[in-house]
């Protein structure tokens, strides 16, 4: 794997290229290649060039962040002042935030250059990027397949060398799953490690912003830049990344394997992960087998809590203050009803209804309350695993990227594909997904390392070791801006 950001940073530092030149190269590639992929949904080129000029000035004055002057993208649910932020929903068409998300303003202060906003499933609800009002994004490695979701646009852009890195968001796997499908790295930080201020809410107690990158080292770099206590997010807190970093090798590192994670897992993925486990063991890691039967409950728990929170979070989209508005209506109720009927897509409506249902009086105890109880149990059980393990290893997904417009999958089958990613969100843990092999058609297979709360350093250390020493066999994408 290549350290795109670090490589570009050293070129900028050595003055082999300027940020403006680099930005122009990306703009050129995007103009040429984006239409085939539909990774970007809006472009910020004019502003990006201004930001690049500013970054060049900062570099000339000796700016020391490797992120200074490096182009990047934001998922379309992360607010940037004056830049359309639509969550890939018709209901927020043309919506321009009046403020910057904290994660973006931190990067911006370091000299980041924002190329544009990337595609996603509408309001981050989905795992294929197909529920976007802008149409689906295609997987750069096979345009007949989905890039995953919901941060599919960012994953596709990074995979296709149309951005050195991207910020995505992960509520139930929305960073890790597309990273896995596209063969790149995706980090879902501990809940609270990165401020959610400016991230348009889906499931507030589950959402986290995180980086999509071409390498673990790049992911650590971006994470380090965006993490930390934000006075605008009560749930955020300070994180010391360096204190949890491990030594350069994995000798003595305790890697937990939850047996239930491998029940019914397909042969190809199972064997790819098996190989990496064997590799880690050969290099001195201690493999610990664990059983956690309750982990399967994470899926219903996730869907109940995420939908409940979403039903409330999305109540504000009524067409009154901003966003989509209808022309012909009789009463206020009629207007709101039309705005929401026409403005939201099918999947969003489904989740709003599910969420409203589980919070309704008469059903609250049976669904929402029970889910919360199970959630704390599950979190406690998962946390217990970190008494005996440094990290857990698990598949990121049950399959490699699936075909676009797959009509054979029912809604519940699609929800079931999140089974490996949601426990991490439910328990608020950090996890990093990275490629570990490919299937017979050459599509990437991902695995994830899961850590204890605020122990991003541990999972990034182990992932970095694997990335440097284990050949997952994934070729670099041919197009885009080549290093």
């Amino acid at each position: 794997m290549k350290d795109t950001v670090f490589t570009l940073a050293s070129r900028l530092k050595e003055k082999k290229i300027s940020s403006v030149e680099l930005t122009k190269a990306y703009i050129h590639a995007i103009e040429k290649e984006n239409s085939a992929l539909n990774a970007y949904v809006s472009f910020n080129f004019e502003e990006a060039l201004k930001q690049a000029e500013e970054a060049d000035r900062m570099l000339a004055q000796g700016a020391c962040s490797p992120l200074c002057g490096i182009p990047m993208t934001l998922k379309d649910n992360i607010c940037a002042k004056g830049v359309p932020t639509t969550c890939a929903s018709r209901i927020l068409q043309d919506y321009k935030p009046v403020y910057d998300a904290t994660a973006w303003s931190k990067l911006r202060a370091l000299g980041a250059v924002m190329l544009g906003k990337t595609n996603m499933d509408e309001f981050a609800m989905g795992s294929t990027c197909e529920t976007s009002c802008y149409g689906a994004t295609k997987n750069p490695r096979d345009p007949a397949k989905v890039p995953g979701g919901s941060s599919g646009g960012g994953a596709a852009a990074v995979c296709a060398n149309l951005a050195p890195y991207a910020l995505g968001s992960d509520t139930g796997g929305s960073i890790r799953q597309p990273a896995s499908f596209c063969g790149i790295v995706g980090l879902k930080p501990t809940y609270g490690a990165v401020s959610r201020y400016g991230l348009v809410a889906y499931g507030s107690s589950l959402d986290q912003i995180g980086p999509l990158t071409t390498s673990v080292r790049d992911a650590a770099l971006v994470f380090d830049a965006i993490k930390g206590k934000d006075p605008f997010d009560d749930t955020s807190r300070a994180v010391d990344l360096s204190s949890t970093l491990l030594k350069e090798d994995v000798r003595g590192v305790k890697v937990g394997v939850i047996r239930e994670y491998f029940d019914g897992l397909g042969e190809e993925i199972s064997s790819a992960i098996g190989k990496t486990i064997a590799f880690l063991q050969e290099n001195g890691a201690e493999i610990i087998s664990l059983s956690l039967p309750e982990i399967k409950l994470a899926l219903p728990v996730y869907y109940i809590i995420a939908c409940a929170e979403a039903s409330s979070n999305l109540g504000r989209y009524d067409g009154i203050r901003y966003g989509y508005r209808v022309e012909n209506y009789t009463t206020l109720d009629d207007m709101i009803s039309k705005v929401r009927s026409e403005g939201f897509g099918k999947e969003v409506k489904r989740r709003i209804m599910l969420g409203s249902y589980v919070l309704s009086s008469g059903y609250y105890d049976a669904y929402y309350k029970k889910a919360r109880k199970l959630r704390s149990q599950l979190a406690a059980d998962l946390n217990k695993a970190f008494r005996s393990c440094d990290v857990l290893i698990a598949p990121t997904t049950a399959s490699t990227a699936f075909p676009l417009n797959n009509p054979t999958k029912s809604v519940t089958e699609t929800y079931l594909t999140d089974i490996y990613t949601v426990p991490v969100n439910v328990a608020g843990l950090p996890a990093v997904s990275l490629p570990c092999g490919k299937d017979k058609s050459g599509m990437p297979i991902g695995l994830q390392f899961i850590g204890g709360k605020f122990e991003e350093g541990k999972i990034l250390s182990v992932a970095r070791f694997l990335e440097e020493h284990f050949d997952c066999g994934i070729e670099e994408y041919e197009g885009g801006v080549r290093l």
């Binding site: 607010c79 959610r196 201020y197 609250y364």
Partner: protein, 471 residues
């Protein structure tokens, strides 16, 4: 009267914090529409609320002043409903873990109206209907409120009135709210039902929403008593309705029936962490609590002030502060109280002016004046001087001449001479006084003022008169 009235009140009190409950916007009343708001209080996508710690502190103060228990652990909840004045489509409130619970307010009769809970929440914006259009003003959106929920312990409109007025006074005294009902900083939802005397079970209640005047609450309750007892008398049932009070007709009007009641789908607010209020914090807040209205009242009565004076004095916090400072500086309690209630109030036209008690003189200036009266300056002269002081901001020594203030204990031969004259001229009064009618001496004072002028040192003259009459 066949039926007993059962009333419970939910009182919303707007807190007097400088900033809103979840953002840094000002809470000040008025202001051009939508100038006191920001991305957070207008619920822009992606924004998050930040709990203002002052709001929690104020709620604790309100709880301590109403004998509540303070919950050590508390959290916010979302109350979901759709209305254009609520930009997030949910109100951040508290459902099952309010800041305070189980308190009471004691009425003068000794009866206690129990308080079930006090919770914190945000206010909504305001709809303005103008020229066939509806506009939204979010200035009030996010202004902090406490909701004080009473048990159904109130049995009459008079008790309801007393309870609300007591709450109002208490909240003003502890500085958490100005409780101006006409400006909406205090509003009540009134729950009322009837039951035959002696029956234990409650009848079906109706709720009258959003009342903003004590007199309307009294009228609405009287109206509801008639309405509900008519229904019950004729064998019909009271339905669990939500009503509003129509000020022009004096009747309650149906807003919605129980079947149309909203399901608020409460759930814990994920954006704000559960917070704890430690006993140490509570103790710290307790230390800063002032004397409460009832305590003041008892204290003033114990000073020997009349009921009338006390009831005029104790209800204005700033007046009581002024009064107590004057006493500390040596003013006598009775005269100082009389001057405040009789003279100073006469210059403060409205309730609000009395509430604000903004004077051009300090309590020290006032105390100086009163001590001259204590030393013998004529009360009426003092009053006139006080009015001038209030008007000009001058001190008593600038208003009255040194001669007028010459209140030495040295017996001036001229004064003794006047006293002798008076005694000689008013034989009847002297006889009355000698026979034990103490008040007869007042007519001697009057006669003396006729000779020596109004500024005569009455205290000294009194001493001389008594001595001469005893000779």
């Amino acid at each position: 009267m066949k039926y007993e009235m059962v009333v419970g009140l939910e009182t919303h009190v707007e807190l007097a914090t400088a900033t809103k409950i979840f953002c840094g916007c000002t809470t000040s009343f008025g202001g051009k529409p939508n100038t006191h708001c920001c991305p957070i209080c207008t619920g822009q996508p992606g924004t998050l609320p930040l709990l203002n710690k002052k709001v929690v502190e104020y709620a604790v103060r309100a709880g301590l002043a109403t004998h509540c228990e303070i919950n050590r652990v508390s959290h916010m909840d979302r109350k979901n409903y759709v209305y254009p004045d609520l930009p997030k489509a949910y109100q951040i409130s508290q459902f099952d873990e309010p800041v305070c619970k189980n308190g009471y307010v004691q009425l003068d009769s000794g009866k206690r109206i129990r308080i079930l809970r006090i919770h914190i929440e945000e206010d909504a914006g305001k709809l303005v209907h103008e020229g066939g259009c509806t506009y939204i003003d979010y200035n009030r959106g996010g202004v902090p409120l406490i909701e004080i929920v009473s048990e159904p312990d109130i049995s009459s409109p008079a008790e309801a009135k007393e309870y609300i007025e007591k709450l109002q006074l208490i909240m003003r005294f502890i500085g958490v709210s100005d409780c101006k009902m006409q400006e909406g900083s205090m509003r009540c939802d009134v729950n009322v039902s009837l039951r035959p005397f002696g029956q234990k079970e409650y009848g079906t209640r109706a709720e009258i929403k959003n009342m903003n005047s004590v007199s309307f609450i009294v009228k609405a309750l009287e109206y509801e008593y008639e309405r509900q007892s008519d229904l019950l008398d004729s064998g019909e049932k009271v339905t669990q309705d939500t009503l509003r009070y129509d000020e022009s007709t004096g009747a309650t009007v149906l807003m919605r029936r129980k079947e149309d009641a909203q399901d608020y789908r409460y759930f814990p607010e994920p954006d704000i962490l559960t917070f704890t209020i430690s006993p140490e914090q509570v103790a710290l807040i307790q230390k800063t609590m002032p004397e409460l209205p009832d305590e003041k009242k008892a204290k003033y009565l114990a000073l020997g002030l009349s009921e009338k004076v006390v009831s005029d004095l104790y209800r204005y916090k700033k007046a009581t502060d002024f009064y107590e400072e004057a006493m500390q500086r040596g003013a006598s309690s009775g005269k100082a109280a009389s001057y405040i209630v009789g003279t100073i109030y006469s210059t403060l036209a409205t309730e609000e002016e009395k509430e604000n008690f903004a004077l051009r003189i300090t309590a020290a200036d006032f105390a100086e004046l009163v001590s001259y009266v204590d030393k013998g300056l004529d009360f009426a002269v003092g009053k006139k001087a006080l009015l001038t002081m209030l008007e000009t901001g001058k001190k008593v020594t600038q208003v009255l001449s040194p001669a007028e203030l010459n209140l030495s204990d040295e017996e001036d031969p001229q004064l003794v001479a006047y006293c002798k004259e008076v005694i000689a001229e008013r034989a009847q009064a002297v006889a009355d006084f000698k026979s034990g009618r103490e008040t007869a001496i007042y007519s001697l004072y009057g006669a003396l003022k006729g000779k020596a002028g109004k500024t005569v040192n009455i205290k000294l003259a009194d001493k001389i008169l008594r001595r001469l009459m005893a000779e």
